[in-house]
């Protein structure tokens, strides 16, 4: 825990890790937002894996992915914005919002990985490394520095 409390410039390491995790989550929400606006374009860029014009299996996967993208816009994306705003102001609600969105940041790559392991194993690994790992580090980093937010 002391490693996460080590001061690195403006913030301790744990807070930097939390900001980094929020950053990668913002990247995910941008990709999801782009997917909802232009699904085939997102497919070409590699943001999504399945097309609505494919075979019945691919169409089912595309529908499932579309639902997840929509959920990301409705629920975790606004919480991420609250977390960023609150954390920069050093407020407790920012700390709580960050913890909440990190829970989603761990949860969604997990179910994605177990769903896609047989079809897209490389994407499953990327999702776990890119999102689950930073969010777990963000949770630990925030917990180690909870005194900054809890009066």
């Amino acid at each position: 825990m002391t490693t996460f409390q080590k001061q690195l410039g403006r913030f301790p390491l744990g807070i930097w890790l939390a900001y980094a995790a929020l950053g990668v989550l913002c990247l995910a929400w941008v990709m999801q937002a782009y997917s909802l606006l232009d699904w085939e374009g997102a497919l070409a860029l590699g943001f999504q894996n399945e097309s609505f014009s494919g075979d019945p299996a691919e169409q089912a996967w595309a529908l499932e992915s579309w639902g997840v993208a929509m959920a990301d816009m409705v629920w975790p994306m606004p919480i991420t914005l609250v977390a960023l705003f609150g954390m920069t102001r050093g407020r407790f609600y920012g700390y709580v919002a960050a913890m909440m969105v990190f829970a989603i940041g761990v949860y969604f790559p997990l179910f994605f990985a177990f769903q896609r392991w047989a079809t897209f194993p490389s994407f499953a690994v990327v999702a776990l490394v890119l999102f689950t790992l930073p969010c777990l580090l963000g949770i630990v980093g925030l917990w180690a520095n909870r005194g900054r937010f809890i009066g």
């Binding site: 639902g67 629920w75 829970a103 949860y107 177990f114």
Partner: protein
């Protein structure tokens, strides 16, 4: 932290709801294609869509719930009952997937034609999870702020 009557209601409800969900999802993990699992956990006919996608989608949620969601929600509720601050925080974190999965399942069931306009579907199968998640989230947040 003080353990009030409302703390007991929220924590016990959380234990019951997550206990039920964790149990059925654990059964889905160990018996992914059994008739019982299809009928009582997935609650839909795999032949209505591509069966491989159907089972994979449901298995993804089952594994994630057993590995991550249950193990944060259940200790969170126990921590609440013990009056521990981390219990309220863990329960608050664990309340988020209730709403998240409700949105994804709402869309999946609608698009796949799995939705049923019955009291059982809207209240037991779907509605009680986000309703409890929101209640738990607001309660734990207010308590942690206090």
């Amino acid at each position: 932290m003080e353990v009030t009557l409302i703390t007991w209601i929220v924590a016990v409800a959380g234990l019951l709801i997550m206990g039920l969900l964790f149990t059925v999802q654990f059964i889905a993990v160990i018996k992914p294609r059994s008739e019982w699992t299809i009928k009582n956990v997935y609650g839909a006919d795999p032949s209505n869509t591509d069966p491989k996608a159907f089972f994979a989608v449901n298995q993804g949620y089952a594994w994630a719930d057993v590995i991550f969601w249950g193990p944060i929600q259940i200790p969170g509720c126990i921590g609440m009952l013990l009056g521990l601050r981390w219990g309220f925080l863990l329960a608050l974190i664990g309340s988020v997937p209730f709403v998240y999965t409700a949105i994804t399942i709402f869309i999946w069931d609608r698009d796949m034609g799995f939705r049923k306009n019955t009291f059982n579907y809207w209240v037991i199968v779907w509605g009680m999870f986000p309703a409890f998640g929101l209640l738990e989230m607001v309660y734990c947040f207010v308590r942690l702020l206090g």
